[in-house]
Point group: C2
Chain length 677, copies 2
Amino acid sequence: MASAMELVLLFIITLVCTLSAVAIQTHPLDPLTPAEFKLVRTIISKSYPTSSSHANLTFQYVGLDEPDKQTILSWLSSKSKPKTQIPRRAFVVARFEKQSLEIMVDLSTSSIASTKVYKGHGFPMMTIDEQFVASDLPFKYKPFIESVKKKGLDLSQVVCTTFSVGWFGQVKTNRILNIQCFYTNETVNLYARPLEGITVVVDLDEMKIVGYSDRMVAPVPKGEGTEYRASKLRPPFGPKLKGSAFWQPQGPGFEIHGQTIRWANWEFHVGFDIRAGPIISLASVYDLEKQEYRRVLYRGFISELFVPYMDPTTDWYYKTYFDSGEFGFGQSASSLQPLTDCPSNAAFLDAFYQSSQGSPVQIPNAFCIFEKYAGDVMWRHTETGIPNQVITEVRPDVSLVARMVSTIGNYDYIIDWEFKPSGSIKLRVGLSGILEMKGGKYTHTDQIKEESYGTLLADYTIGLNHDHFLTYYLDLDIDGEANSFVKSNLETVKATVDDHGTPRKSYWKVVRETAKTEADARINLGLKASELLVVNPNKETKVGNKVGYRLIPSSVSHPLLVADDYPQIRAAFTNYNVWVSPYNKSEKWASGPYTDRSRGDDTLAVWSKRDREIENKDIVLWYTVGIHHVPSQEDFPVMPTLSGGFELRPTNFFERNPVLKVLPPQHVNLPNCTIKS
Amino acid sequence: MASAMELVLLFIITLVCTLSAVAIQTHPLDPLTPAEFKLVRTIISKSYPTSSSHANLTFQYVGLDEPDKQTILSWLSSKSKPKTQIPRRAFVVARFEKQSLEIMVDLSTSSIASTKVYKGHGFPMMTIDEQFVASDLPFKYKPFIESVKKKGLDLSQVVCTTFSVGWFGQVKTNRILNIQCFYTNETVNLYARPLEGITVVVDLDEMKIVGYSDRMVAPVPKGEGTEYRASKLRPPFGPKLKGSAFWQPQGPGFEIHGQTIRWANWEFHVGFDIRAGPIISLASVYDLEKQEYRRVLYRGFISELFVPYMDPTTDWYYKTYFDSGEFGFGQSASSLQPLTDCPSNAAFLDAFYQSSQGSPVQIPNAFCIFEKYAGDVMWRHTETGIPNQVITEVRPDVSLVARMVSTIGNYDYIIDWEFKPSGSIKLRVGLSGILEMKGGKYTHTDQIKEESYGTLLADYTIGLNHDHFLTYYLDLDIDGEANSFVKSNLETVKATVDDHGTPRKSYWKVVRETAKTEADARINLGLKASELLVVNPNKETKVGNKVGYRLIPSSVSHPLLVADDYPQIRAAFTNYNVWVSPYNKSEKWASGPYTDRSRGDDTLAVWSKRDREIENKDIVLWYTVGIHHVPSQEDFPVMPTLSGGFELRPTNFFERNPVLKVLPPQHVNLPNCTIKS
């Protein structure tokens, strides 16, 4: 029990934190500040006291409780200066006495607004620190120490990491994870040297080992050739790339106000969440003709990333990760390295999340923002059709990129949001990092007689086949909330000479189909020639086209697991490339709010079964980028980036080309420069 | 008849040209030089004398007669310095007395090696000058002048352009084209102001009008809002992009030797052809581990570009262009503008083609070569799995782009070949320029009751639906000529607990299928999960994988015309996204050598019917990038670039990541610079 003095101190701290939180707060969608994280911890710790010897309250998720959309929109359009502060609330998922608690904290009153015990299946996201603690358990566990000894390995060179275990039909599920271990002797590329066959099962709520097996199935692959640090590699180095400098004498073209970015004709807010990572909100584009900003995207983020591996055997079958819901894209953000992760003209933003114990953890340089000068052409035309004239007009392209890199164990995901002056938003994810590799007995493909579930990359090393399905949440608000989803199907029309008096036998026409309910908007791409649009049916251009944006996919993949396989039940939201749902504040996470060990009973696929009306409603577009990955030797020991993505492109949104009147940026020569490298 | 003096002069000129041609000649795949064009003209004019009053010899195509592949490869591997010059030959298609002549000119002996009269269907590519002459004919043609007067238009503001007419089942075809005209009053955007309903038919061999109709169907759309020249536009301008400077203190990373480019680990030759435009040959990548250049691509270029419009009515049905075979991607190359078409660090190369009369015509700055610093990440990894260490290794990406822009009338095609240090080649085409627009009676979509075949873009202006199918010819020679085409199909395997002792119900595995004959390699993408590879079945990595490159498509489209529609018969090579054929020197043009008014009897689709063997042979991969284009208002009055493309990516070609040992380029700071804009 706290003393009177302690309570007074607590009150003062709370007050200071609250005041400082208010003082620096400028935007209602800003992520929680360090002070706010501390306040949350203070408030909750008061209500859930834990004995000092056995701390059993852990903070699994702490994030901004997003204010209601209408509240945000009124705030946004309010003319008062400064704008009235919207009361800040934090949403917390805590584990306490083996239960998941959903706690709403009112930061303005420093009180708990509501508490609910979650009774459904699945568990909250794992925190980084509990995984860290769990990874250390084997080193005090005798059977494990003996296994390592038996293999003739140096225990001090062994490291262990954590793996979510999924759900495979179990009636009762505990909050467990698997631990597998690696040998780092000679290398930091631990994934290349698995101690195949050893699996340690840890109960996270008990924080103790509850299962162990050592099947001793394969030799540890060699460390040779697995290193990737320049400082440890031997010459020859290459290929050689020459140094360069980039200079903007008038400074960058963008402005950062808190978390709000303004650049060229774009304005948007960069948020951050421990689970989602980057959240782009309130993206609006300035319409030069209408002389106003027009709304495009209310909120967008990667809702889930499903990564199933294709090995059905004992030590591997369960590896079917949900990288966002289980591991947290936000808390896995890597600090970006200036000059390599982002070009020299980048600006950086930090991010914060909470530890298991509720303390704020800083990620320095979690975001970078930079102008991309890729040498592309925004538009051009050369006209030679007018006698005695050659007209050439060209506008070089520049775009703005907001980047975060999330490293989930072995894989590095480079998440780019690219805004173009033409009104397009390009979303791209680059996959780099290190493959998950399985130790094996092979040194040559000739020896492989049975299915190996992957590619032989090096001696005793198989890179396992797997998929990446990234599901984007895109709450487009094209010129307002009420939007419709339109399939512009390109349909072949057969013709005879009687129809038009010409010998042409066919052409295609556009048949527009507005989705009435969710069922109309579930789409597997690639089967039909269609343009997919989100339009505002209440707004049209002068000549009468509905204003809209269309989705331009890049390459398309579909799941190959059978629908009733457990991982696919949990990831049923990948069954279609496209879904559209009515906006519902609670439907943020495609895999459901409690993804770890989930049973697929609270996913986008389940919500969509209600088949709600989506015409002329506030709607959300869910789009899944899928990549099947058959590893190749080039991916070893570290993977050259492989990219996927899509474009959201204005389609009859503007009256005309919105960059018609852009002028080429002024070119700057550098006549008198001194090299300083 | 020439006098003795003239003959002597001719001999001297010929000798000088031959010598100069030899003197500057360095690479057997270099395009013909101005001197060689002149020599060709001289040699052929001697054999086909034309009366001075009526010149009826025209040069439709003059290009390098590519030496045999084995000759090139021996030359390439020859160690003698200087290398022995391979005799240069020019292949000529001339029109003479209404016949197409195929003339082989031996430039080393200044003689005609062979002549053949082409007897098949179709005509050679139209030259720019004959189209120019044809476009002028209406202005001396009374019915046309009267039509213009009747419409109340100023004839001096009318311009006309040429349109290929295709083939629609006619038994007898002449070498005709259609002329349509536009009003430029108030604008240079002629395509926005069609004189709808007027069609002039010109016989190119006769160079006279052979048909005329004026159906006076629609008002001429307004000029207002169609201008795109910055100098003619009124403020406000925007969005504003800030100026910048790029500097490489040690100069660019690439070297240009004649037409050969060396950069980082790449070496390739940039050729040029009046029909194909850019031709990339002998692309080899340096293998740091093997310490040698390894062959990847023997020759690649855009073989054809099919652009059918989707309006079956009288004035439009025939608009089904073959932009390469009819109009010539090479002769349509636009001079690139420094600082806008290509960044400040670009180098430029000129190109030459022949006029109708055989004279060399220069295209200054036809190519640009530049290093692309787009802010991408080549590879990265952050490792937090090792206690008390955070390891972050990042390599920023740089690539080399070779660019040409081909402007076929209204459309501008930005053709990029991008070489990456990781061994990938990215091929991309950007579509910009101006839409083909049809005059109409509508000012609002509400008025449109029947099919309009496009999008209402502005008053009286419809942007017509159309497709772009770009067929790339890719003669990959992966570590040598003998290659195979492999489909790595990703196939679902169902499993029960009895199979592996686990509850996993499914996974996918890779089933490799080597195409034996051409029929096995005709592929419509999107139907099946497959990786498509070209491998060398005779070369493997240490662990036994076949060395190869794979094709990674971007978005995929298929033709929507019925197979027996005339344009689709001619463009049957687009019926599949992928074809593979055995290398055959004569099979270069997917639409056949004589595309204008062709009947589809000599296309890739016809050659492929022979179903030749393609396993472990010298093979050619044909890949078609398809884009369905439903115009939007943003495309008016000039189109923001829309891109399509694909990647050729090394797949078990290298033993490991070929950029593992790349070092980040040295960063250069600029402390003491003076602005000079």
